[in-house]
Each structure stands twice: as C-alpha cells, then as structure tokens.
Assembly symmetry: C2
Homo-oligomer: 322 residues x 2
C-alpha cells in the first residue's frame, strides 16, 4: 500500500465501468455571481450519492479472495457506510456496519437495502470501538475506515483525474475537507500531474481542524465540532494529514449560513440536490476574499454528495409550490 | 406559420447555441422500480429552468425587426413568462408581462431580473384580458401566448428531436400535458419521423381535459382545475387539440399523491429538483397499468421543469439534515 499517483491511476482503471464518471455542471448565473468560471464536479451523482463509493470500491477490490470471504467492516452512519455496503455487495463479501442506535432511519434503510448487517453501538467513541472489535474478533472481517487508509485516499483521488480530463485550463481546485480522504487524494493527484494548479480545502468554521493544523504545522484534532455539514465533523488522520500539509495550498473556512446559502444556490439555480457538506466548497469560492484573489480564474468545485433527508415531502404544506 | 416537421427542424437550427441540449438522465434504481428502461429528458436544466424557453425563443426569432421594435407581450405567472422575458432580452425587444398581483414574489423577481415590465391584473380572466388589450393598444406589442401558437408548439417539439438523437431504440415517449404545446410538438415530431414510437400524454386527474377531450373526440375545456401541478392547469387550445387528437396514442391521468411520490423519487434518487408539473410524466410511467402494458420497454420521460419555491431553506429546522 502506498500513496502515489501510480496508485491513483490504477484506481481509475479499477473503477472504470464500476463508478460513474460524474458530469461537470456549470451555470451562467453562478459565474456572474462569482466573477469566475466555476466548474462543479457532480459527485452527488456518483453511486450511493457521494464520492465515497470510489474509495470504498477501490479498497475492497484490492483485497484477496480470502480476505473477502471473511467480510468487511466499518463504523459510520454516513455515506461511507452506504459506499462500503454497495462495494461489498458487488464483490460478494459480507459487510458489517457499526452504527449508533440514534442514526436516522433513512441511513439504516440505505445500508440494509444493500444487504449489509448493522451492529448497534451507542454514541460514545469507546462503545463504537468496543462493538467494532467484538465483530472483528468474531468474524475476522477486514476493517475499511472512512478515510484514513491509502486505498481509500487514492480511490477518492480519481475525482481529480476526471476533473483534469473534463475541464480545460483549470487554475484552482477546491474540495471539502473532513477527514481529508477526498482532499488528500485530490491534492496528491493534482500536484503530481499539474503542480501549477492550486488546491484548496473548504472547511466549516465549526470543524476547522485542518485550517488550525495547517497554521500550526502539526496535526490538531477536532474536539467539539459544531456545523450543519455533518459529513465534515471528523479530524484529519495519520495518512491524510501529511498530504494536506505537503500538497494543499490553503484551507478556506466558511460559516454555516454561507454553507446553507450556497446549498440554496445549487438547489435553486442548478436544480441539483447537494447536501450541506457537499456545498462547502462552493461556499468557499463565493467568499469575498477568495473571489478577489482568484478573479477571472477557472475553478473546479467538488460537490461531494447529495444525501439529505427530504422530510418536508411528508407534509405538503411545507413544500410551497407557487 | 404552419405545424410541420420541417418547422420543428428549422426551430432546432434556430435554437442551436441558444437553448441547452439538455442531458438525458438515468437511474438503476428507477429502472428496477419501473421494470422498464427509463430515460429522463432533463428540461428542468433548460434555460429559465423549463422547456418553455424553446418555444418562446423560437417564436420571437421568427418576428421581423419591426415587430421586435414594438415589443412582446404575454400573460402568465409561470415558466412562459420567464421564458419570454429572456427570449425578448436576447433579441433586444421590450417584454411586457401581464401578471396577477397575487403571483408569488419569486415569480415577479424572476421576470424583472430579465428586464421585463410587469403589468398588474387581478385573478379574473376578464381583467387579465382587459390589461393585455390595453397594453397591446398602447405599445403595439406582439402577443406570444404560452402554448397555442404554431411557433411555440414547433419550438417545444425540438425536445423530441433531441430524445431521438440521445436515446437509442425508444419504444415510448411520455410528456406532461397542460395546454398541449409540449405534447403536441413532441407528438408531431415523433409521428412524422418515427411513427412506430408511441406517444403518451401524462395529465393530473384534477385537470384532465385532454383525457376527456380525447375520449369524447371533441375539445372539452377544463373548468375548475385542482392539482398541485400548477403548470398544467390550462386547457388544450385550438392549435394544440388537433395535434393531440391526431398524433397522441393516449393520455394517462395521475392523482396528486402519485405526482408528489414521483417528485420525491426524482429528488431523492436522481438528486434533481423537478417541479410537480415536471414529475407528472414519471408518475404516469410508474402507474401499475402502464408498467404492465410496457414491461421491458425503453421509455423517454420528459422532466419538463424545475422551478419550485425552496422556502423550507428559510427555516433551518425544516431542512432535516441527519
């Protein structure tokens, strides 16, 4: 296992015909607002509705037949759980998901729809780890973490290869950063192939460990994250932090209202359903400082996922149709 | 002016580089649910967020310089108003929109953002006509109705040409029907070029004048429409009725809960924001009778528009982000 551009190029071969080559979306009105040419990489249209499928499928496909027979395990209530459930199903491997009992019903259903088995824990980190270890001991299942794993990171890096194929003369790429799997993989790919292109992370101000770590020059974990971008609560890890430190040009932090504002633009103007975490990169690009620094640039923005509960459909009155 | 396939082919030339060639979207899960191969023509991604731009731009582009100088007028609070406002702007023509004072704020803003002038009326048909005639008398503006006009109909028919280009071996095309401009144009195109392909209209049960007219063999207007599909309240017109009568294979009516259900599928699975009127064709295709009749077919479904108020963003609590 290693973190190299060669591994990312191999991942792209492995994902061919398995993952979607997601479209790049543009909007005249968005470009006018931003003062830039913005190219949105639509990973909300990836299988399971998020880029996570790339890393999970790549990591699973690297396992031996013997490992696959013992099954796969992870702990997540988010997009990685769905991604691993589908990746395991496609490899005919049993998948175990450790999930807090408090997780939303829609997340539970999504995982079981792919045939995975849920093992319940409570919300404490210690209990999650206890259940994870128990199931691993019983089954011998191989642990595929949500981001801090070389094959997961290099799988996510394939997003950048597609951006280079699909968008001419890119100046900047901006991707959201939570655990750093997506941003780390993208930065490794871009700086290996086209080092002139700038790479920025976009991070919620309420979970700004990447910004603080980069400023301090050492890995600082996130203690009490608080943001609507529920996919970005996690801290950088041992594999992802060095990538962010060495290859990322900067981290732009954004407040929750700006995240919701950019989400509303994407829904209203681009007619695309993107979740809050998936809207953070656009929020960063629309910030005043970023706009003045990169006026007239060609900017790739990763819309990382689109899984959001649509509960307002339950009550017709909440859906105002004029 | 005439309703011929030649006119539709000319409209496609006129629209080239002006209207978007909208993408065709597919979903594995949708195909599983439907038992068919469904190809969704994404007209919610058209300029102004609806197919209406095609007909409006085509009709305006057929006018003389002298006519354009006197300006354009229509009465609408819906997508046609936005479409004409933009089409007029692109032709440097003044645009007058007659709109009830009760129209939602978002519709007023959309029209004025394109530089059109709003003339207020009240909700009565008689008052709308009074204001329309007054402004026409004052300005000499050319009236472009929302659907009952040959150049509007043939402009909408270009949707079918793109479907034939983009989707191999189509068996059936289903489009929503309100005034019949879209369905009539599509039916004319399909039956002229590939008469073997079936064409169905999808209509809300609460505004089923097309279904009743086709059953009776004569044009029956809609008296008291009641449906969430606010773009389909209108009755067939003098130009559109003969097209529906002569070229459409049938009308499928759907109840409002089925419309909302298919809208939720499109939002949740395809991550696309489509308005209720734009979800009616999918609702028709998912109906039990249609599914059993066309099992295993390749079906083009027109998602006609995506303009829906996103008021739930105002209150964060309404947007449940798990």
């Amino acid at each position: 296992m290693s973190l190299t551009i060669k591994r990312i190029l191999e991942a792209a071969d492995i994902l061919r015909g398995k993952a979607h080559v997601t479209p790049v979306l543009t909007s005249r009105r968005l470009n006018e607002l931003a003062g830039n040419d913005i190219f949105c990489k639509g990973e909300h249209l990836q299988r399971v509705g998020a880029f996570k499928f790339r890393g999970a499928f790549h990591a699973v496909s690297r396992l031996s037949e013997g490992q696959l027979k013992q099954g796969l395990i992870t702990q997540s209530s988010g997009n990685h759980a769905q991604a691993l459930a589908l990746a395991g199903k496609l490899h005919r491997a049993a998948v175990h998901i450790v999930m807090p009992t408090q997780a939303p019903e829609v997340k539970k259903q999504a995982v079981t729809a792919y045939g995975a088995t849920i093992h319940w824990c409570d919300n404490r980190q210690s209990d999650r780890e206890r259940v994870l270890e128990e199931v691993r001991a019983q089954t011998g299942a191989y642990y595929i973490p949500p981001y801090d794993h070389p094959d997961v990171i290099t799988g996510q890096g394939t997003v950048a290869l597609e951006c280079l194929d699909q968008i001419l003369d890119l100046d900047v790429v901006v991707a959201p950063v939570g655990g750093g799997g997506l941003l780390g993989g993208i930065a490794l790919a871009i700086k290996s192939l086209r080092p002139r292109i700038k790479v920025f992370g976009a991070e919620p101000a309420g979970a700004d460990d990447a910004a603080r770590s980069l400023a301090k020059g050492e890995l600082l974990p996130q203690l009490q994250p608080d943001t609507i971008a529920d996919g970005l609560l996690t801290s950088l890890g041992e594999w992802t932090w060095p990538l962010v430190r060495d290859y990322v040009d900067g981290i732009v932090t954004v407040e929750d209202p700006a995240i919701l504002g950019s989400m509303r633009l994407i829904w209203g103007w681009m007619k695309q359903i993107v979740e809050p975490s998936g809207s953070v990169a656009l929020a960063a690009v629309l910030g005043e400082e970023f706009r003045s620094q990169f006026k007239g640039s060609r900017i790739g923005v990763v819309l990382s996922g689109g899984n959001v509960a649509l509960d307002f459909f339950e009550s017709r009155s909440n859906l105002d149709v004029p």
